[in-house]
């Protein structure tokens, strides 16, 4: 152990003797390790973020959209051909055993006015089950009642972004907001939720009973909705719930098993998968850059160690004459190679950590650098030193002492 420490000290002295050369040599390893560390942290950041966003949608969420069927080769727009109704939603809630709740949903973009302020936002018609399906909570006030839904009352619930833009620091409860032709009374404000995985601000919305929306904001055929949201009874029953929805809706819409359905079903897991796929690709790309960089770095270390062995042939000869065995010389140069590349690895690690700090601040992602990744990064650079330092060290150890002593 002590002899290894002495060898490290010797190696450090040899490295410090040519600082510029050493720093250029370890650049590859430095970049490689920094890249690995950043990639790992980015990975955790992305996973945290996607996980957080997806669960902010609500647990076990399933979306159902109408889909235009092809009529003589021309696809109509989704809204025209949409045949999804509140009755469909109720049927799903009643018949599908794996579905806990169904919430109908329609929305449109509107300019809304309160006093001298106005704001462009999404106005949505929903039912009370929406709160649970999408996991919304109230920071002020409470939901409308069944009577409000029946009577198509002009009441609204504000997202926090809308509240802030219309009422500043006030909560706006009891105030009136004009949407289109009618004034609506604010009865509640939603708790802040942040961005959805689709990049939309989930707090920038105004919600009202479905009936009110259909009769006063966006007149449509009776019972028609733009979207249905359902939540499965459990994470494990999501797939079964999708099957049940498919079956029930085909039956209700009179679509045969071989025909193209007039609706689309998407689950949270699919969103997650498609998002993760993008980041996995990105991560693989960065990882391969890191791998190439580490390889190049390793070759750099080997190159410089070969140069070092040639330069110090006479020193090797002297050491051999004085009684250094092959193993002593081998260890000396191997330790030098490992020290060099571990130095590069440690500096790379520091750079990586700095980059992570900057990135996590800029992106507002919570990134972690697991201890294993740190150990692996330093370990990898050490391993590179051993692998690429082996050949030069062996060459040094196998020198003939007489030739080495004669070397100028």
């Amino acid at each position: 152990m002590r002899s290894i420490l002495a060898a490290v000290r010797l190696a450090l002295r040899a490295i410090l003797r040519s600082k510029l050369r050493a720093s250029l040599t370890v650049l590859g390893i430095l970049i490689g390790v920094a890249a690995v560390v950043v990639v790992v942290a980015l990975g955790t950041g992305v996973r945290n973020r996607i996980g957080g966003e997806i669960s902010s949608l609500g647990a076990n969420l399933i979306y159902i959209w109408p889909q235009a069927t092809q009529v003589s080769g021309a696809k109509g727009s989704a809204k025209d051909s949409g045949r999804l109704t509140e009755a469909d939603g109720m049927a799903l809630g009643k018949e599908a055993t794996s579905i806990a709740l169904v919430a109908p949903f329609s929305s449109t973009s509107m300019q809304v006015v309160a006093g001298d302020k106005n704001w462009a936002t999404s106005v949505m018609g929903v039912t009370r089950s929406y709160w649970e399906v999408r996991a919304f909570e109230f920071s002020k006030g409470q939901s409308w009642t069944e009577a409000d839904e029946q009577l198509k009352t002009k009441v609204i619930v504000l997202g926090d972004t809308v509240r802030e833009n219309l009422f500043g620091s006030g909560d706006g409860i009891g105030e009136y907001v004009r949407i289109g032709k009618y004034p609506f009374r604010v009865i509640a404000v939603l708790a802040k939720k942040g961005q959805s995985p689709f990049g939309e601000d989930q707090d920038d919305r105004i919600l009202m009973p479905m009936g009110s929306f259909r009769s006063r904001i966006l007149p449509t055929a009776p019972g028609r909705v733009q979207q249905l949201m359902a939540s499965a009874t459990d994470t494990l029953t999501v797939d079964r719930a999708v099957g049940q929805i498919e079956q029930i809706l085909r039956q209700r819409h009179h679509i045969g098993p071989d025909e193209e359905p007039d609706f689309v079903i998407r689950t949270q897991a699919e969103f997650r998968k498609s998002q993760e796929q993008i980041f996995d690709t990105l991560q693989a790309l960065l990882a391969s850059v890191a791998a190439v960089s580490l390889l190049v770095g390793g070759i750099g270390v080997m190159n410089i160690m070969l140069v070092s062995v040639t330069e110090r042939t006479r020193e090797i000869g002297i050491r051999m004459a004085i009684g250094a065995g092959e193993a002593d010389i081998m260890v000396q140069f191997l330790v030098e190679a490992v020290t060099l590349s571990v130095l590069g690895g440690v500096v790379g690690l520091a750079f990586g950590v700095a980059i992570i700090a900057v990135l996590s601040r800029a992106l507002e992602w919570s990134m972690e650098l697991p201890l294993q990744a740190v150990v692996a990064a330093v370990g990898t650079s050490g391993a590179i030193g051993i692998v690429f330092g082996f050949f030069p060290a062996r060459r040094a150890a196998r020198l003939d002492p007489i030739d080495a002593l004669r070397h100028e």
């Binding site: 002899s3 002495a6 006479r314 004085i322 009684g323 065995g325 193993a327 002593l405």
Partner: protein, 263 residues
């Protein structure tokens, strides 16, 4: 061709029996040593002289366990070292032989003390003890005040004395000196020789290779080589006393003054 000192005593430090060394290249075969028989008892100061190509360097390499004889036996301090592996010969070099070279062969950018410690490092001796031994060896060659100087801060004579301290620090029975005065002026040469003679008197066996007869005259026994054979082998009676020779030299001029003569 038995050497003058060959009395078959068990106290021979070096025994060479029919040692040959052949260098074979594609074009030529060089017979550097041809069946050499030689015994060197402990305590001798032997000079090996000869012109270049006489085989004296090859002899030196074999005596120093840096090279293996093509055939024949080499027994050093009772150990048949001719057939040992590279690592075993490294250990032999470390334990039994101290080397002094023409070009000093000190590690550059390394202090005198560290240079002298080096053989002890390969012996696995702890740092504190290494320090003590190396300091003692440097004191023995009157360089205690230059311990922390690097070779480029030392004169040629001082560097050679560091090299001698390095050779002595392990207290080996044999000191091999390959043209130790080759890079030194006459005065410094005699200073080094005086040091070697003093060491020899304290018991260490010295084998010195040189092509200068003035230098060889300081040894107790001179072996002349030619064409890979021992040509003559005789004792100097008496050997030239280097200290006396030094005293007869003209006074050193001012530039040489900083180098303290070995006392």
């Amino acid at each position: 061709m038995a050497g003058a000192g060959a009395d078959d005593g068990a106290d021979d430090l070096i025994q060479l029996e029919e040692v040959t060394k052949v260098y074979a290249t594609e074009a030529v075969t060089v017979r550097a040593l041809r069946r050499i028989d030689l015994c060197i008892p402990r305590g001798e100061f032997v000079a090996i002289v000869g012109q270049s190509g006489s085989g004296k360097s090859t002899m030196m390499n074999i005596l120093g366990c840096l090279d293996r004889p093509t055939s024949g036996r080499y027994v050093l301090d009772g150990i048949d070292v001719g057939t040992r592996s590279n690592d075993a010969r490294a250990i032999v070099r470390n334990r039994l032989i101290g080397f002094v070279f023409q070009g000093f062969n000190l590690l550059p950018r390394t202090t005198a003390l560290e240079n002298v410690e080096l053989p002890l490092v390969y012996r696995g001796i702890p740092a504190a003890q290494r320090h003590r031994q190396a300091e003692a060896a440097l004191e023995a060659v009157s360089l205690a005040d230059r311990m922390h100087h690097t070779p480029n801060q030392l004169s040629g004579g001082q560097q050679q004395r560091v090299a001698i301290a390095r050779a002595l620090v392990t207290s080996p029975p044999l000191l091999l000196a390959d043209e130790p005065t080759g890079n030194l002026d006459t005065r410094t040469s005699y200073e080094v020789l005086e040091l070697l003679q003093r060491l020899n008197r304290s018991g260490i066996t010295i084998v010195l290779v040189t092509h200068e007869h003035d230098i060889a005259a300081c040894a107790t026994r001179v072996i002349t080589m030619r064409d890979g054979l021992v040509k003559t082998d005789q004792y100097n009676r008496p050997a030239v006393d280097a200290a006396a020779a030094l005293a007869e030299l003209p006074r050193p001029d001012e530039e040489a003054a900083p180098e303290a003569p070995a006392s």
